[in-house]
Symmetry: C2
Subunit: 609 residues, 2 copies
């Protein structure tokens, strides 16, 4: 279904906007605006981003795939009793068949003491029963062991718990802790199985864990998950912030010059593993692959010359990536995530270069963790917590607080960091059951439209659900633009019930940057909380030549994920509109004449229950 | 003079603030709000931050000190014909006796062609006439040579110009360029004299220059400024952004466990050089030193154990610092500055560690350059451009655009990056003639005041000049605070003529971070430009123990420079109020009871002509 309206809008001259709320008495009202009366809350709980029905959630934990039941399991830092962080902190649990719809399971396990926290950690499948926790009554594919941090009485230690019922209930190991270094900042173990390059290698478990306020990722090895040997540390690299948290080390396929025919929304259930050093091509045939026929995005990565460091990756077909979250201290404010591309020999991680790379340039992307045991062996799937510690406890939602990011599929690619240089980057592709989501939805398209300042275009959604994807490709005529004129292409994502509330998303041609303004809301939190950065931006390099740009986005009630340049740059940000005010239209506008051509703007509004 | 008012303010309950401007017709007005009608401009030109009277300014260039005349010279990227960047781009010039009051000199030199730019560069004093440009008629202390980039017709090359009249007029070298590598992105040479560690060394000139879009700082040497040899490159380190620009390499004194009796505002005219490997102690006796008796800030750096890497610095008493600006691509948006602490052997720079450090966490601090030939040899004095390329051409000022930062004096210190770890940092101290500025000003003080939510304090300025310094020390009682309550100490810097306009500055106890909100203004640019980040924040670690914090700030009409923890963390940001609306009062308030004690808030309003 195509709906295309063209309305004339009266163009008012530039006016000083008086904010009558900003005098002393209004300032006084700000001082008192921390209450959570329901009128000041946004109840627009996301549909395809996981959130618990009630209570507080932070970091994703223990992500694993059950190959027997074909279920995806996620756990998370969970305080079920109130929508704010509190003790005892437990592990919540949810299960999905398609990484899209999640079935909440409640508390999986918690700490023994009321004033303790079962802090973040990971899960592994102990197929070969190295731990001795299992016997033949547990299918090898379901021999789940959780490795987590007990925070109690000024001490942080690493603990084990195991499950005999496929991850629904857990027993705590009687000889816990398995790691205690007499520290109050030693947390977030992520464990994986390292088989070794040598075919005769027996393999062993490897743990990365943060000595948080020393900015150290400690790397341990173990034969049995119980006895751990410190092998090395990766310390004080990149941007430090105030603390390192939630480290992770993962082998990521290197993809060169690949046409992502199916991107974004890659196939994560193709049969059989892709060979790591082959060129990855995603199948379109899977039930949850991107449906290329509805929103085709045929974007080819550049053929530019590889920089020296990539020759190593070309040969082996993968790199190791060290993920580190830091909090607070981001120059964007609060918490952030960085990563390092390098090599791992079983005991030591060595970065390939000295570049500091941030993963996701938005404000709400923290504590990324990857799944253990993806069915397609080379797929690296991960979830981050879509919030920021600066304001996470105070975001205006009720009775839950915080959601996860979408699942993303990560690859290492090279991209044009500018017109003369390529750089390696961790590429992100969102993973959802797009076929099903689009099936009963509605679609809208704009094509081949040159924008001018005297008119605008409106895509108006039928029965707004607040959940949709969009794909924008545009070209820019840089000739004759003036640096003193704000030269924008703007998309206004406007509330259906209250048009005062909108997201403004756009590009400015002088600065060659993309912007997002999430400040246009009637919710007091948005108006007043000084940590809720309203205006965000990213540099958006062209995807293939110098004048064509693209952005893909998924909007889900109160969160927007943006994927620039086919996923080489991302920005994930929450936003808060009044209860029930779903985005109902997209207004496409430019303040200048004949600078922008919309090559295509395609929108699929998802049908959700 | 002490003024202390305590007013009761009616506390309204939290209310939804309706923004009536946000419907479609108001959106339309945004599209057209790029005009510069005088009613939408802020004419609040700063008083002690340099700006040209008319026209466009960007990077500081060619900073040097004339020891004969005892004058400080600055040059800058200057387009005098309009308040926006344009060609031909020239070098503007200004002179000061005290780094506080600047005497504008107009254009020093420009390119030969109308469509060319005399892009950024530096100046040196060629005491020994290595260049051959001088004879005995020019005092050795005034043998000024400018090294700059000619940008013309898709090429960037390094050029020389020299002055026989102490830096007022220049002659271009007839055999220009002196460096041409067939590049369109080869710019911003910064040259210094390297004497070498060996007493028999003859010394030579060293240039750092950016191969911008290769993320390379090229390091050249020369005996005569004309013939340059490529020695090494410093490439792809730290955060890349989109381009490297304005590199600089400078030897910075290492200061350990020093009480800055005179900080901030350090002495830059003490007689005789301080020995580089002695402990630096700043004199209080100088005419332009910080006057400790009026606003004493006796802050002692911690005695915590040095990390390993500092032992090298302890021994030699200094480190080399590589300054790199990058644009765009900062996660805060647009342009930013980073630096690397390391060693330089005359040909190669090697960082001491792999940490990425940003210099100034605000939005408006770019293209930092240091002075050649400071009278006190160990002083490292520098100036940055106080704007951001995202919006610099569109900020609402007229008929000038952009100002410089204050001069800062830099040292390497260690600081408590968190409660368990120290890190090396480039410490900043603002340099101004504080004695003179305070002399005819007015002073205001608050002391030993526990804040509660039912009242507030007001410091009201007599005859607001818009230019003042403030020093805040506060302690926080973390016991019993709630993570779901925004637990703030807020300072509202309110306009005298229009109280709708204010800066909100404060600290939040749950996140342990400091915030600045510059969004409360009636100026359309502030309301509408999506790149003008309104809300900024920094992590503010305690200065000495776990519950006492400090911030020092200088406000100058439309710019605020914040120095946290005695200068270890800074944030520089412009702001824009309506014409003539100077800050006239500071309202001190907390939304919670008995969490904050103001140990002291001291304010000196400066008298300016």
């Amino acid at each position: 279904m195509l709906k295309l309206l063209s309305l004339m809008v009266p163009l008012a001259s530039a006016a000083v906007i008086h904010r009558r709320d900003a005098n002393i008495s209004a300032i006084a009202s700000e001082w008192n605006s921390t209450s959570n009366s329901s009128s000041s809350l946004s109840l627009n709980r996301p549909a395809v981003h996981y959130s618990p029905e009630e209570g507080w959630m932070n970091d994703p934990n223990g992500l694993w795939y059950d190959a027997k039941e074909e279920d995806w399991h996620i756990y998370y830092q969970y305080y079920p009793d109130a929508p704010h962080w509190g003790l005892p902190l437990t592990w919540g649990h949810a299960v999905s068949k398609d990484l899209t719809v999640w079935d909440e399971q409640g508390v999986a396990f918690g700490p023994e003491f009321e004033t303790a926290g079962a802090f973040s950690g990971s899960m592994v499948i102990d197929y070969n029963n190295t731990s001795g926790f299992f016997n033949s009554s547990t299918d090898p594919r379901q021999r789940v062991v959780a490795i987590w941090t007990l925070d109690y009485s000024g001490s942080e230690t690493q603990q084990l718990s195991y499950s005999h019922d496929g991850g629904y209930t857990f027993t705590e190991y009687s000889d816990n802790p398995v790691l205690d270094i007499d520290s109050d900042a030693f947390r977030d173990p992520k464990v994986f199985w390292y088989q070794g390059e040598d075919s005769e290698s027996e393999g062993n478990w490897v743990m990365t864990v943060a000595e948080a306020d020393r900015f150290s990722v400690l790397i341990y090895s173990s034969p049995d998950l119980k006895n751990w040997t410190l092998e090395s540390n990766f310390s004080r690299e990149g941007y430090l912030g105030y603390n390192y948290e939630c480290p992770g080390l993962v082998k990521v396929p290197y993809v060169k010059n690949t046409t992502y025919a199916s991107a974004p929304g890659s196939n994560i259930t193709s049969s059989g593993p892709l060979h790591p050093n082959s060129t990855v091509s995603f199948s379109n045939s899977s039930s949850i692959a991107w449906n290329a026929s509805s929103v085709p995005l045929n974007i080819t990565l550049s053929n530019s010359t590889l920089v020296d460091e990539t020759s190593q990756l070309e040969e082996v077909g993968y790199a190791w990536v060290m993920i580190v979250s830091f909090n607070p201290g981001s120059i964007l404010g609060g918490s952030g995530t960085e990563y390092f591309i390098g090599d791992f020999n079983g005991t030591h991680f060595e970065p390939l270069d000295k570049q500091t790379r941030f993963l996701d340039l938005g404000k709400d992307y923290y504590a990324l963790q990857t799944f253990f045991n993806t069915p397609n062996e080379v797929d690296v799937l991960g979830i981050a917590w879509a919030s920021n510690w600066q304001y996470a406890n105070q975001v205006p939602t009720d009775p839950w607080r915080s959601s996860m990011s979408l699942v993303r599929n990560f690859t290492i690619t090279e991209y044009n960091i500018n017109s003369n240089t390529t750089a390696l980057v961790l590429n992100s592709q969102p993973v959802l059951d797009f076929t099903s989501l689009r099936k009963n939805g509605t679609s809208y398209t704009l094509e081949n439209l040159t924008l001018n300042s005297s008119s605008h275009e409106v895509l108006e959604f039928e029965d707004p659900t607040g959940v949709f994807e969009f794909s924008l490709e545009y070209s820019v005529n840089f000739t004759g633009i003036h640096n003193w004129v704000f030269t924008d292409l703007s998309l206004y994502f406007q509330g259906d019930k209250d048009s005062d509330e909108y997201l403004r998303l756009g590009y400015e041609a002088n600065s060659k940057q993309f912007f997002l303004d999430r400040g246009h809301s009637n919710i007091p939190f948005v108006q007043e909380n000084p940590f809720f950065t309203q205006r965000l931006s990213v540099s958006n390099p062209p995807s293939s030549n110098s004048s064509t740009f693209d952005v893909y986005g998924i909007v889900d009630r109160n969160i927007i994920e943006l994927y620039f340049n086919n996923g080489t740059v991302t920005s994930t940000n929450t936003f808060f509109f009044s209860t029930g005010n779903n985005i109902g239209s997209i207004i496409v506008k430019s303040g200048v004449d004949d600078v922008y051509e919309i090559e295509s703007l395609k929108v699929n509004q998802f049908y959700v229950d």
